[in-house]
């Protein structure tokens, strides 16, 4: 029976709707059951069966080696360049700061047209930065352009079109010309920065996608056509930029907002961090949830995860929490091996953002205490 039959009454349509809802729910149940039957182990169980033991850190192995001070408001977002050790940070004080991570020098301090910034990103060449927030616009600044009469860097391009706040943005690797945004309007958008126009919209009113705000996106470093998104609808979704009409896959499991998604270094899995206090690792090829990372904190609480990052091998998973903890998880054994929040010189507030340097040698954390901190290995090394 075609849906377009004009004579179908409202009552008949409602009956069809009820039946269709039941079919959908049955399919979801069958899917969950089949998936559960394939979860014969998790990563930690497998690693233990192979005799693997957890990473152990000495008391001075991972240390805070730099504190970047200068913001006068909460830090919300940060991003490293792909070379040259520079970091861009965004703060509630309405500024982006570009830092030299080695010398702590402020290279640029960019006053934003809208102070309510939530996300920032460095372009692959390091020549531009992007930011977005409650103004629903993604603004691009060319760091080589001349400042105006007030000494401010002008906006070189504005990407307008989202109907909600911009929660996250990332340049497509190896291209300064395209970036992807995630938004409170429940969509992700791929932009052509040269024209300022949308290339593709993922989700939204007429397409299958997230059913609540998108909070985070991460582009696959091994295949830049693939990206993941995390949302207030408690799911993460995988997208192929060539197919905007529907997500490649939807990942269920979390019981709260998915605040952070990050691709695993090998490009075949991604991690998530959520309001439910857990991090999870998902396999993109099969859709399996490979591991849950959950531990009560010192006050017996399970605070929300705000942001995550993997070390360059993926063996370590860094997770920032709302209570100021920054757990270092052994990804393989699912154990907390260190808490950066309990070390000397740790932050005095919520960790809001994390990022790993391109060569994997350092981690940067940003906090509501207005500072950024750089963490690196400070222990003894074997030299062969």
């Amino acid at each position: 029976m075609s849906l377009s039959q004009p004579k179908m009454s409202v009552a008949e349509l409602k009956e069809r709707h009820l039946a269709a809802t039941e079919t959908l729910n049955n399919l979801k149940q069958r899917l969950n059951q089949t998936r559960r039957s394939l979860l014969d182990t998790d990563i930690a169980g497998y690693a233990r069966s192979q005799g693997k033991s957890a990473v152990t850190f000495g008391p001075t192995d991972l240390v805070c080696c730099r504190t970047l001070q200068g913001h006068t408001g909460k830090v919300y977002s940060l991003d490293w360049t792909s070379e040259r050790n520079r970091i861009v940070s965004a703060s509630q004080d309405g500024r982006l700061i570009v830092w030299n991570a080695l010398t702590r020098q402020k290279i640029h301090a960019i006053k934003l047209p809208c102070a309510w910034v939530m996300t920032t990103a460095f372009s692959p060449t390091g020549q531009s930065v992007a930011c977005g927030g409650l103004d629903s616009v993604c603004s691009i600044f060319n760091l080589n352009s001349t400042t105006d009469k007030d000494g401010n860097l002008p906006v070189s391009r504005m990407l307008s079109g989202h109907k909600g706040y911009i929660s996250s943005c990332q340049y497509v690797p190896d291209e300064d010309t395209h970036l992807i945004t995630g938004s409170g309007d429940q969509t992700c958008v791929l932009w052509d920065i040269t024209t300022g126009l949308k290339t593709s919209v993922f989700g939204g009113e007429f397409q299958s996608g997230h059913t609540a705000d998108v909070l985070s996106i991460s582009i696959n470093g091994s295949n830049s056509r693939i990206f993941a998104s995390g949302s207030c609808d408690a799911t993460a979704r995988l997208w192929d930029t060539r197919v905007a009409s529907r997500a490649v896959r939807t990942f269920h499991g979390h019981e709260g907002d998915v605040n952070s998604v990050k691709f695993f270094p090998d490009g075949n899995r991604f991690g998530t961090g959520s309001d439910d206090g857990t991090c999870r690792l998902f396999d993109i090829r099969t859709g399996h949830q490979l591991q849950v990372y959950c531990q009560k904190h010192s006050d017996n609480d399970i605070p929300p995860v705000t942001s995550i990052a993997f070390s360059i091998s993926g063996r370590l998973l860094f997770a920032g929490y709302t209570n100021g903890d920054c757990y270092v998880w052994d990804t393989l054994l699912a154990k907390v091996v260190l808490n950066l929040g309990s070390l000397q010189d740790s932050h005095e507030g919520r960790i809001s953002c994390l990022g790993l340097a391109a060569d994997g040698s350092a981690l940067c954390t940003g906090s509501w205490d207005t500072n950024l901190k750089i963490w690196a290995f400070g222990g003894h090394r074997r030299v062969v």
């Binding site: 349509l13 709707h17 269709a20 089949t34 091998s313 370590l316 350092a362 290995f377 090394r381 062969v384």
Partner: protein
Amino acid sequence: MASETASSADEETVSLPVSADGALGIQKQGKHRILADLKRLEQDSKFLQEELEELEKTENVSNICMGLLKSMETKPDPLLPDFLLTEYMDQ
């Protein structure tokens, strides 16, 4: 979706001092919403059915773990205690 359906039902039963044409308009609007919902439900079911068929041919987690372990162990990691400096210098 359920709330949209409920709001369509409300449109059907609310008594308003409207003309006959106005009442017909409200009824058509409710019908369109249900049709749009139905279309989306059927599309989502189709996607889930495809996923189910794919899942029935998918390997289990233990098979995937082997690949993951290998991936972690082949890449030198400067933040790990057992990282060898010569590996870093060779990069």
